[in-house]
């Protein structure tokens, strides 16, 4: 069931007219009928009252002279009044005096009504009771019982009339309103049609033509004005759209240009990065070389130290040989040769000759001593040469290819670093403390780690030797595990220390406080540490208070044999 709201507008209008007209008609009909019914009722009351009065007046004599027959005859005249079904005359004492039954139905004589007047009973009767007066005396009462059939018939007639009138007038108003409602519905439907066409075709150029100057006319004007606005708006939007499109194109072009530039820049940057990479590689190489040089310097230094000793030993041997008593032997032998023929005499007689055997035996003893000394010196020389050999061979063992991950024992590596500098420690009386935690073997780039450590150890040694004179020169090496996969190596010296402002600068390229430094050692150490994925940090409480270098290295734990 469609609700009233969803009905078409002309149906609504027709219904509206019908409803309004119908209700108005019905109400006026009801009013008229009610009024009429009331009038009929009151006229019936009046009629019956009059009838009762007339009958009463006519029956006074009959009452006065106790003549019920005459009274009955009088009442019999009610035959002319079909509405009256029963009538009764009561005497002054309330007894039924005479009665009349229209139909000979056996209705018992009713008791006299309690009061005069009229009453419409529930059964549809009108009961009228009037007093019968004579000469100022109430001598009885007349009672009429009239059916309201007439009223009912009238009512029925009215209902029929009203129904007929309603049907006819509603039919007429349907015809009329279906014609007249077009005055309102047609413009609205036209408007709705236009609106639908506009929304379907999206043609905002459509206009509606008004047919009247009423509110609908105004609505049409407004509609048209709205369409104007929409059209303008549409045009504006279209324009904006076009402009936007152009702008987008421009922007796209710009963007693609920028994109091209950007890609060019990117490729340039890539090239630059490649170059940078190459430079870095070169730098790395040179750093490595520098590291190697550092190492070589260390090695050569050590070797030089040993060579000094060798030189001393050689000089000693050569001096010894130069001061050798061999010349005395030569003079003795020449004396023997010149006295070859009289050798015996010479030895026995000649004063000189007599001393010769003693001299020779002395010389022999002396030469024997000499030989022992030289041999001793030569043995020393040989030992020192062996030392050099050891240094060189250690160096050679680290001169392998960089970037090889090996299974490394950190303690051994630290010892190796120390060994490469050992000569200096002895010479400068530097005590080395080794505080190694029990660290399992790890996998690391051993060459790089060693390179860093050698540099750091040498740096510490230099700090100690260049620093203030101390009772106890001390270098501490300490290892500790800082995590599951990282370890820390502390190189602690009590040397000259680092002023706070230099704590970071010391790692920059070219920074040095040494007279002969080139400012590359710590820099390459830091680089190497970061290449290994670790870090190198310097700490110091200030000048003269020593320094601590902490090398943190991540590692791959070596597979522990089960």
């Amino acid at each position: 069931m469609k609700s009233y709201k969803d009905f078409a507008i002309n149906t609504k209008l027709t219904l509206l007219v019908l409803l309004a007209g119908g209700v108005a008609l019905l109400m006026s009909c009801i009013a008229f009928v009610t009024n009429d019914m009331n009038m009929i009722r009151s006229s019936m009351v009046k009629q019956m009252s009059t009838l009762a009065d007339v009958l009463g007046a006519n029956s006074t004599a009959a009452l006065s002279f106790d003549d019920p027959n005459t009274a009955s005859e009088l009442l019999a005249s009610l035959q002319q009044q079909p509405a009256v079904e029963f009538a009764c005359i009561y005497d002054a004492s309330g007894h039924a005096f005479a009665s009349y039954h229209r139909l000979r139905s056996v209705s018992p004589p009713l008791p006299m009504p309690a009061q005069h007047g009229y009453e419409f009973t529930d059964e549809g009767y009108l009961d009228v009771a009037r007093p019968i007066d004579h000469a100022g005396q109430s001598i009885g009462t007349i009672y009429l019982h009239a059916s309201m059939d007439e009223l009912r018939d009238q009512m029925l007639r009215y209902v029929n009339i009203v129904a007929a009138v309603m049907i006819v007038s509603l039919g007429a108003s349907i015809l009329l309103s279906s014609r007249l409602q077009r005055v309102i519905s047609v413009p609205i439907l036209k408007l709705a049609d236009a609106a639908e066409r506009i929304s379907v075709e999206r043609d905002y150029a459509i206009r509606v033509t008004k047919s009247a100057n009423d509110e609908l006319g105004t609505l049409y004007d407004q509609f048209n004005a709205m369409l104007d606005q929409i059209q303008q708006g549409e045009a504006a939007v279209q324009q904006a759209h076009d402009e936007l499109e152009i702008k987008i194109e421009q922007r796209t072009a710009q963007l693609s240009r920028a994109n091209t530039e950007l890609s060019r820049e990117i490729s340039e940057r890539l090239r630059a990065e490649l170059e940078l990479e190459a430079v870095h590689q070169q730098l790395m190489t040179s750093a490595r070389r520098a590291g190697m040089a550092e190492m070589a310097t260390g090695v050569l230094h050590n070797v030089g130290n040993v060579l000094n000793s060798i030189n001393v030993s050689a000089t000693l041997a050569s001096d010894r040989m130069r001061q050798s008593k061999v010349t005395d032997l030569i003079r003795a032998t020449q004396m023997i040769e010149s006295h070859a023929e009289d050798l015996g005499a010479f030895i026995t007689s000649d004063p000189k000759g007599k001393q010769l055997p003693g001299f020779l035996s002395l010389l022999a003893a002396h030469l024997a001593d000499e030989r022992a000394d030289v041999v001793k010196e030569l043995e020393l020389l040989s030992t020192k040469i062996n030392h050099v050999k050891t240094i060189v061979s250690t160096q050679q063992s680290y001169a392998g290819v960089l970037g090889v991950i090996e299974t490394v024992d950190i303690a051994t590596t630290l010892d190796d670093a120390l060994k490469l500098n050992s000569a200096s420690f002895d010479r400068h009386q530097i005590a080395v403390a080794r505080q190694y935690e029990d660290i399992p073997k790890v996998r690391l780039d051993k060459q790089k780690v060693l390179q860093i450590l050698v540099n750091l150890v040498k740096n510490a040694k230099d700090a100690i030797t260049d620093g203030p004179h101390q009772k106890e020169r001390k270098l501490t090496l300490r290892t500790t595990l800082s995590g599951e996969k990282s370890l820390q190596i502390y190189i602690i010296d009590n040397g000259m220390g680092i002023p706070p402002e230099n704590l970071t600068r010391i790692f920059s390229h070219g920074f040095t406080t040494k007279k002969k430094g080139h400012g590359f050692g710590l820099h390459s150490c830091a680089n190497a540490a970061s290449e290994l994925g670790g870090s190198l940090v310097a700490k110091s409480d200030g000048p003269g208070k020593g320094a601590t270098f902490i090398l943190e290295l991540p590692f791959e734990p070596a597979e522990v044999p089960a």
């Binding site: 004599a61 002279f65 106790d66 008791p111």
Partner: protein, 203 residues
């Protein structure tokens, strides 16, 4: 009456209508209305016993249906006089009526006459049947030219010059009227009254 009451009591009928009827009947009996005797079909109590009270009532009622000329009264204060000739026992009833009612706005006065000569001016003269016919005629003649309604209760009374004459018919008291005599007395008798009466002509 007692029977009814007894029946009513015995049956202990509580129905309202019944009690109402019983009450009505009781009242009838007490008041001694003539109809009550008929209604009860009580043959022990003949209607004749009620004859004179009824006739008295009728006499009073004639006052309402007969119009006397103005000359019948000398002043407006004059009473309406009902005279009775003969021994008819109507006095009691008439006195009862005259105590409470009036005729034409006048007090009712009942006068009893013993002889025709003693009759004074009156408006209704009732001549009882025990009065001798000659006396009756004398009385009629005496008031020939007076505005008097002469009422009798003897056969042929109206024909002999009376205006109204009572008679009993079907156990009811009826009356006949001689319009001519009434006219002679300048009395106008109401059509209503005439409609109840048996009209007779003078002989």
């Amino acid at each position: 009456m007692t029977i009814i009451r007894r029946i009513a009591n015995a049956r202990r009928v509580s129905e309202r209508r019944w009690r109402l009827w019983a009450c009505v009947l009781l009242v009838c009996g007490v008041m001694g209305h003539p109809r009550s005797g008929i209604a009860q079909q009580n043959y022990d109590e003949p209607v004749i016993n009620r004859e004179y009270p009824l006739k008295a009532l009728f006499l009073y009622n004639f006052g309402g249906y007969v119009e006397w000329p103005a000359a019948a009264f000398s002043t407006s204060q004059d009473p309406f006089v009902i005279g009775v000739l003969g021994s008819a026992p109507v006095d009691e009833t008439l006195k009862e009526i005259s105590a409470s009612r009036k005729i034409g706005g006048r007090k009712i006065v009942v006068r009893r006459f013993s002889s025709v000569d003693g009759i004074e001016t009156c408006h209704i003269l009732f001549i009882a049947r025990d009065v001798a016919p000659q006396q009756q005629l004398a009385a009629i003649n005496r008031f020939q030219n007076y505005h008097v309604l002469i009422v009798g209760e003897s056969p042929g009374f109206a024909e002999r010059g009376g205006s109204v004459n009572f008679f009993v018919e079907a156990n009811k008291i009826r009356f006949e009227i001689n319009i001519d005599t009434a006219k002679q007395h300048q009395l106008k008798i109401s059509a209503k009254l005439l409609s109840l009466a048996k009209i007779v002509q003078g002989s």
